[in-house]
């Protein structure tokens, strides 16, 4: 970074789309950032480009236009079927050097968090990680990214004023999904793929997909979380039903893991997972710091606890003081009723 770059040459918003076996995976996340990318592009009065790498992508590429992309850059080749850091980085960096986007968004999934930093280093640009809010500075026309840090204890607003593309990874479950519009048209551009299997330094020997439920807690949009106060009688079974009604994953505190009702994969907190869903419903949880570091940055927190002074209420947006055994069934009934 010796000479000052001519930043005006950089135009357009790019969004990296994840696929697995040719279809959108983390589909909501990729679509969420496509929706957000559309908003940013409109604010800047520029085009939105979706970038997708994999195999057999024709249909998916077309779908991305209906979801709002003006252009889709497709790298379609067997060697790209499974995500590989170096191959994907090479292709995206090459395309970015040639076409000069001003913004590049990547989902903050495991794949995205592996890929984005590598791209940003190579392009010598900044990357703001795990953003929960994106905007355009009206005056400077640059990206304004806001993200949690310190385990969700602080929020930071970060800019990348002098380097391009301005990169951010975006957390799942925080951006709105785009609408499908059959009438949208756009261009699908094929990127040339020269890489061969022999060029790939890293070989994939085995790929196993987990059962959808348990492992996905970090990508879940809604989480119903059980504390010891939700484990007596048939309360835990009712929680499972509540989770089903809400289309949520079940998680819980460490003592609940210790009772064996949940697996360690879904224990939330310091010695478990960190989650940041749209909705976190804490039932019978006291709210110690070891637990709240794992959930404090959820978008909306609901706490149900019989103790009005429970710490968890300090982290909650909505609180119900009451016995979980009575509140949970009532809530299930209300959810059912609201649907009719």
């Amino acid at each position: 970074m010796t000479a000052i770059k001519d930043l005006s040459a950089y135009k357009g918003v790019w969004v990296f789309i994840e696929q697995f076996e040719g279809k959108l995976t983390n589909s909501t996340l990729s679509l969420e950032i496509l929706g957000e990318g559309r908003k940013l592009a409109d604010k800047l009065g520029t085009d939105l480009t979706a970038v997708i790498l994999g195999e057999n992508l024709e249909k998916t590429a077309g779908d991305l236009i209906k979801y709002g992309a003006n252009t889709v850059l497709v790298a379609d080749a067997p060697v790209l079927a499974n995500y590989r850091t170096e191959l994907y980085t090479d292709i995206i960096c090459q395309a970015a050097k040639e076409r000069k986007p001003e913004i590049l968004l990547v989902g903050a999934s495991a794949t995205g968090r592996d890929l984005a930093p590598r791209i940003s280093f190579r392009l010598h640009t900044g990357c703001t990680a795990d953003c929960t809010e994106l905007d355009i500075d009206d005056e400077k026309k640059i990206l304004v990214s806001t993200r949690p840090a310190f385990g969700g204890n602080v929020m930071a607003t970060i800019l990348c004023p002098d380097h391009r593309p301005q990169m951010s990874t975006v957390r799942p479950g925080v951006m709105m999904l785009p609408t499908w519009d059959e009438a949208r048209t756009g261009e699908v551009i094929k990127l040339e793929v020269t890489a061969k299997e022999e060029d790939a330094k890293v070989k994939i020997l085995e790929v196993k997909k987990h059962e959808a439920s348990a492992q996905n807690i970090q990508e879940a949009v809604r989480v119903v979380s059980a504390g010891l106060g939700a484990c007596t009688g048939n309360c835990f079974d009712q929680l499972k039903e509540l989770a089903k009604e809400l289309d949520a994953e079940i998680g819980g505190t460490r003592p609940v893991f210790e009772t064996g009702l949940i697996s360690h994969d879904v224990q939330i907190g310091q010695t478990g997972k960190t989650v940041r869903p749209e909705l976190y419903m804490a039932v019978g949880i006291s709210g110690t710091v070891q637990h709240t570091t794992g959930m404090a940055n959820s978008r909306t927190v609901v706490a149900i606890n019989k103790d009005p002074n429970a710490e968890i209420f300090k982290f909650a947006h909505y609180g119900i003081v009451g016995d979980a055994k009575a509140v949970v069934p009532a809530l299930i009934a209300q959810l059912k009723a609201s649907r009719n």
Binding site: M1, T2, T85, E86, T89, S109, A110, T111, D114, L115, A116, P117, R118, S120, F121, R122, H124, T125, G126, C127, T128, A129, A149, F150, G151, N153, V154, M155, I158, L159, C160, K201, V202, K203, L205, A212, N216, Q218, E219, L279, V289, A296, T300, V301, P308, F313, K314, A316, H317, Y318, G319, I320, V321, D323, A326, V327, A330, L331, Q334, S338
Partner: protein
Amino acid sequence: MKIIVCIKQVPDVTEVKWDENGSLIRTGLPSIINPNDKNAIEAALTLKEEKGAEITVVSMGPPQVEEALREAMAMGCDHAVLLTDRKFGGADCWATAYTLGMAIKKLGHFDLIFSGVEAMDGNTAQVGPEIADFLGLPLLSYAEAIEVGEGTVKIHQKLGDLTRVIEGPMPALITCEKELNVPRIPRMDLVFECFEKEIKVLGMADVDGELENFGLKGSPTRLRKVFSPKRAKAQVEFLEGTPKESSQKLVEKLHEINAI
């Protein structure tokens, strides 16, 4: 085999306290080795015991990071390098990776670099992958198991809802997950011994590199502001009434804000 382990000293954010306005009190937090980095150290020590290895821990930070490096040596690491210079201050991930990468180049031949997946304070998980790119190394991220073969290394990678077994040639960079192992406690005899050991201290002049790539100056990102997240305290809205009434109110609220 030579292994380099990157470690970061972090404030123990699980000890965080808030003042009465709900703002984070940041002073007085104890400093610890970033938890994932302890898994990285443990992974290196395991390889040392199984196959023989020489382990160098590297950390960039203010002079007190020496404590973290001594703790790593008390766990069994052989050498320690402290990267400290006022001009390193204010580094973002890009500049951090640049500095660590330049220093690692100076250290000469190595077979593996280990880092944590993510530091507990910055929480970006970007430094490991960025160092790999700088040094042109294969990146094996999110390791839950590591197996070293003849010139190659294999890991079990936790990639979201996939678990993959991937293999690359050495030298390579591996980012370590907490599921990888249980870090050992420093050994008493080594704790005393490690105070005698030398820590190599490198500043900007020692690692070469271009002046404008270090520290705040070399950081493409700029922090505009830091603030406390909306922490509910006075904000929690209690929904009163019988279970039926309160749940009805809750369902209405959740519909209003599009949470369901």
